[in-house]
């Protein structure tokens, strides 16, 4: 049985009409020029919808009484590949561990989300937020209070309805 092969006749360099090509190009650009549909997103007014797994500025979860959920176990500074978390842990008189100093340098952070993955009490999260421009470098070091103030939605590294990944 014979088979059919498609053969494209491409223009030969010395025998094609470039005037025709130039004019059809002009027509193409003209169609785009008058086309009212533009792809530009007017950013500050139109916000991009972030994906549920977008990893951005960190959020420290708090208990109902306003204390941070962090138990200063030291796992996040250990796992952090960019070494951007500084944690000094302390213990209160009931023996509960809490962070005395908890700082994240958002400038050094690579937003891998490992701190969130490793956290045993789901205290530190990466969030769905990226507009953290500052006037000085020092302002990029977020301390514990500032991390707790962040109110943007946190990243779903997994499906909340299926936390064990089944």
């Amino acid at each position: 049985m014979a088979i059919g092969v498609k053969v494209m006749h491409r223009p030969q360099p010395e025998s094609t009409s470039y005037l025709r090509a130039a004019l059809s190009g002009m027509a193409l650009t003209f169609r785009h020029m008058v086309n009212p549909v533009k792809v530009t997103q007017q950013y500050p007014e139109e916000q991009t919808e972030l994906h549920p797994r977008w990893r951005g500025t960190h959020v420290m979860e708090t208990h109902a009484d306003g204390r941070p959920k962090c138990v200063a176990c030291g796992l996040c500074p250990t796992v952090c590949p960019a070494n951007c978390i500084r944690l000094v842990g302390g213990e209160d008189d009931q023996g509960n561990r809490y962070p005395i100093v908890y700082e994240i340098d958002e400038f050094r952070c690579i937003f891998c989300g490992m701190c969130q993955e490793v956290c045993p009490v789901e205290a530190i999260h990466v969030g769905q937020h990226f507009e953290n421009a500052e006037y000085t470098r020092a302002r990029f070091v977020y301390d514990l209070d500032r991390l707790m103030e962040q109110d943007h939605p946190v990243t779903n590294l997994w499906d909340p309805s299926d936390p064990t990944g089944e």
Binding site: K6, V7, H32, K38, V39
Partner: protein, 428 residues
């Protein structure tokens, strides 16, 4: 109101007013051409362009200007200081002074007399424009050389070769216009177009095409922007310039564009002339006339301020049309290779311009010999000859494919070839 030319002190005041006003208008047009360039390029690429400063981004040129003024001026340590500073001035001045001879509206009647709507109606008209537009190349070459930067230097060299090459065909394509008009004064060229009953783009179509191509090359716009060629030469001759000196180069580039567009409108599209004879006006033996009656006596023109306004709007619209063409072409066509630019200039444009000049000279001579009167029929005869020449030129330029178009259609054809003996395997 008398239909007398303005004279005495009011004439001096009118002169003193016209210059700054037109200079201001040209500068504003240049500024807004930069905005138009950015907006149109954005639209062509399905973007919206600068729309943040002011309504629709209309204050963007002012923001650009302020930014360029307060930026730091750099002066390369090894640059030739004097020429480095001289170059932007040498580029800027010719691009702006050429506007002085271009008539932009019908004469305006005032209580003191009729004011010509042109800054200086020089008797040498076009020669003045050509002289000054070729001066601009000195600034470009000097800027490239004085920067002491090899990219800038190459850009300057390319600019000199390209601008000198296309200057030739630009001038030669104009000779057809001068022969038909019989004068180099721009007011008289417009008058002749009004008398012919058609704009010179029709009876001199090939000259118009040659002029447009040469003007693109003269103003260093794409597809002929060899002197800048960002992908090869950074930005060519103004690589080392910053802040307001860079801005001067930019203003001159856009100023050249505006002047070239105004020249195209004046020479080939009737300047401020609008269709119909109601706006025709010309100083003929001390009288402002709008035409000649059948017995050869003059018909006096009746200037009015609304005619001036309308014709000014018409001139602006024609110029804007060519400005948009400039921008549109820039964002469509890719850059030529340098040898292609040169071979187009010397091997195609120059011989064509020469041959066309001979053809038009022969046709005008023939028409005059057989006693055809200057008028619409005269224009039609020239239109036919020029049209044939244009078709022949385009056919030759496009390797005989424009009319046949065989390759273009063949390129889109997909042929299905059957290979006997080959077996289609299942599962493939």
């Amino acid at each position: 109101m008398s239909v007398e030319p303005i004279s005495g002190v009011p004439a001096l005041i009118a002169m003193a007013l016209k210059g700054p006003i037109i200079f201001g208008i040209v500068m504003v047009v240049v500024a807004y051409t930069t905005l138009a360039e950015r907006r149109v390029s954005a639209w062509i690429q399905d973007r919206s362009g600068p729309n943040r400063v002011g309504p629709f981004g209309l204050l963007q040129p002012i923001a650009d200007g302020i930014k360029n003024i307060i930026k730091e001026e750099t002066l390369p340590a090894t640059a030739s200081r004097f020429f480095f500073i001289l170059a932007p001035i040498l580029v800027l001045v010719p691009s702006l002074v050429t506007f002085a001879v271009i008539p932009f509206a019908a004469p305006l009647p005032t209580p003191w007399g009729v004011v010509d709507m042109v800054i200086a109606d020089l008797p040498i008209g076009i020669l003045y424009v050509l002289a000054f537009s070729s001066l601009a190349v000195y600034g470009v070459v000097l800027g490239g050389w004085a920067s002491n930067n090899k990219y800038a230097f190459l850009g300057g060299l390319r600019a000199s070769a390209q601008m000198v090459s296309y200057e030739v065909s630009l001038g030669l394509s104009l000779i057809a216009v001068l022969m038909l008009a019989g004068n180099v004064t721009l007011t008289e060229i417009i008058w002749k177009q009004q008398q012919l009953g058609m704009w010179f783009a029709l009876p001199l179509s090939l000259a118009f095409i040659l002029f447009v191509i040469s003007a693109f090359a003269e103003t260093n716009r794409l597809p002929f922007d060899m002197p800048e060629a960002e992908s090869e030469l950074i930005t060519g001759y103004h690589t080392e310039y910053s802040a307001m000196k860079f801005s001067a180069f930019m203003i001159s580039e856009f100023g050249h564009m505006v002047t070239a567009s105004a020249m195209m409108a004046t020479l080939f599209f009737g300047g401020w002339d609008l269709p119909g004879t109601w706006d025709d006006a010309f100083w003929y033996q001390g009288q402002l006339i709008s035409g000649f009656a059948a017995d050869g006596s003059v018909i006096l023109a009746n200037p009015a301020w609304w005619k001036t306004l309308l014709t000014f709007a018409g001139f602006g619209a024609k110029t804007a049309l060519f400005l948009v063409l400039y921008i549109w072409v820039r964002w469509t066509l890719p850059r030529f290779r340098y040898d292609q630019v040169m071979s187009l200039g010397w091997k195609v444009m120059l011989p064509t311009a020469l041959a066309y000049m001979m053809l038009i000279a022969g046709t005008i001579l023939t028409l005059d010999t057989i006693g055809m009167t200057w008028g619409f029929g005269y224009g039609l005869a020239l239109t036919a000859v020029s049209g044939a020449a244009t078709v022949a030129f385009v056919f030759f330029l496009d390797r005989g494919r424009t009319i046949a178009g065989a390759a273009a259609q063949r390129a889109q054809r997909v042929e299905v070839k059957t290979i006997p003996g080959a077996v289609a395997r299942a599962g493939r």
